[in-house]
Subunit: 316 residues, 2 copies
């Protein structure tokens, strides 16, 4: 028996899993702007509740896996999570090990947990080589290569949002990275905002009726549905970038599957075949024939299942 915890930016969800991956019980709570140690206390509270709810003894929990919205340093057990104030270098592993003395504690980034979850219970089952591209406010990549998730020297593999895909260099790339500047949720919003502020090329766009700084990625997708030319310009660019980026991942990793998910990608599912077509132009021609582009099967549960799998794989 293990516990998996998905700590999101606004919500925390936990579950008790048996060794087959069945969810035995589940619990969640809103983070409600908790900061620093308060956020840590909530994680411990949810774990304690899950143990009580399941009626288990604490020592029957072999391991606890945690999916965090940021980076987990495997050497120090500390977490950097930009959306939780005070979690620049938070000693989550140490805290949890002090509270739950008999369980192993394993922490990994959300992007790593997403691919672990999908490989265990979702669209990448039986894959030894699969990638999860998470397109949300930013863009992250979870990597399963030859049957193992990758971590890298400093636990920050998969920073695919920083991929260089176009010359010349632009100043905004220094803050957001090139790929993310064009194709993340925030990037799509910013590109539309910039056009609204700088020029009036797309005269008939509905987006000009909004204050530029308030435009969101969702606004751009909605305008696109109404054949808005500015929205089409911004999203066509994003499609090119999604295609080029995924082509690069195909050439480098030679995966069986690339899974697309994340908050923004719900809206972008309709573009999947166009993204694949774009990727076909750029990728290594043999490798592109060996891969399939699919949508995340677990959706919002990918992180929770990934956390459960993270716990289980370390006790197996």
């Amino acid at each position: 028996m293990v516990i998996g915890i998905d700590l999101g930016g606004t919500k925390i969800t936990g579950a008790v899993f048996d060794r087959k991956g069945t969810v035995l019980c589940k619990q969640s709570a809103l983070l409600e702007r908790r900061q620093g140690a308060e956020a840590g206390a909530l994680v411990r509270e949810i774990i304690a509740q899950l143990i009580a709810l399941h009626g288990a003894e604490e020592e029957h929990i072999a391991a606890i896996g945690i999916c965090v919205p940021g980076i987990a340093n495997s050497k120090t057990g500390k977490v950097w999570a930009p959306n939780i104030a005070g979690w620049e270098d938070y000693p989550l592993q140490q805290e949890l090990e002090a509270s739950f003395r008999t369980a192993q504690v394993h922490i990994a980034s959300d992007r790593t947990c997403y691919i672990l979850g999908e490989a265990w219970k979702g669209a990448a089952q039986d894959c030894r080589n699969a990638l999860f591209i998470a397109v949300g406010t930013g863009i992250g990549l979870g990597i399963l290569a030859d049957g193992r998730v990758l971590h890298g020297h400093g636990d920050i593999v998969g920073a695919t949002g920083w991929m260089a895909l176009e010359t010349p260099y632009r100043e905004e790339y220094a803050t957001y990275g090139c790929f993310e500047s064009h194709a993340s949720g925030n990037g799509i919003a910013r590109q539309a905002q910039r056009i609204c502020e700088e020029n009036r090329l797309f005269k008939e766009s509905v987006l000009y009726r909004t204050t530029p700084t308030s435009i969101t990625a969702q606004d751009v997708f909605h305008a696109y549905e109404q054949n808005d030319p500015l929205a089409a310009y911004v999203l066509n660019k994003a499609i090119t970038m999604w295609g080029m980026a995924s082509a690069n991942l195909v050439s480098l990793f030679n995966p069986e599957k690339i899974l697309w998910g994340g908050g923004v990608f719900g809206h972008a599912i309709r573009f999947l075949s166009r993204i694949y077509e774009e990727a076909c132009r750029w990728a290594q021609p043999v490798a592109i024939k060996q891969v399939r582009f699919e949508v995340s099967q677990l959706g919002g549960d990918a992180g929770l299942y990934g956390a459960g799998r993270l716990a289980l794989m370390n006790v197996e």
Copy 2:
């Protein structure tokens, strides 16, 4: 005791290694345009000579590792090597296992062997995360991630020459890949040839004195030394591409080291600090601080040591 064989496009070199990696004896021969089964026979001949030379019994050789100039299919044991006629799908593993019945046979691509060799006896010793960028007529990438070399679903990871780095798409990318079109040995030669054929923008270039189709990458490097403007244009572009490509590898793999080698890179060593500067503009800012760019330490021996390591790691 193991044997490592480096099968190049023109030459074959083999060595007997002890378990510490000491070369006990070495042997080489020119391939002299041997094709198909003749090339396979030469590999067996070199192995037999090494066994005789070392005065060993055949059954004391625990494993044979082969570095091939192409792709080794780990499921079938067959090799695709574009520079050896008749090796589109050559059953090298099966042949060697039939001839040397007591030894395990392991085959890997040259790019994989390069990073294995450097991690064992070269510039990436003690690294668990390191990459080898081999810039020759093409561009390949050997990947050591979390202590293991990657293979991928169809054994073709590391096709980094196909990396998309620039819009708009150009027809030549369909044949060579975007990165390779600008920054491999053949790519550098072709870019110079194209400019010579299409325009005369760089009036004073010495390269206009040559028949365009006969221009080589070496000609471009030599012209660059004489401050030739056409050569400077072509190589500055290559430097930008080397910088962007390596930035992408840093963001994706979070390595400790990126090693540069291959036939063309001898000439390009002088550009290493400029390549690193370019990479700093594009890469994930934390990951770029964790990596060092260095030149291959083993040079032309990287493949041989990699083949030896490949043999040894599979019997350890």
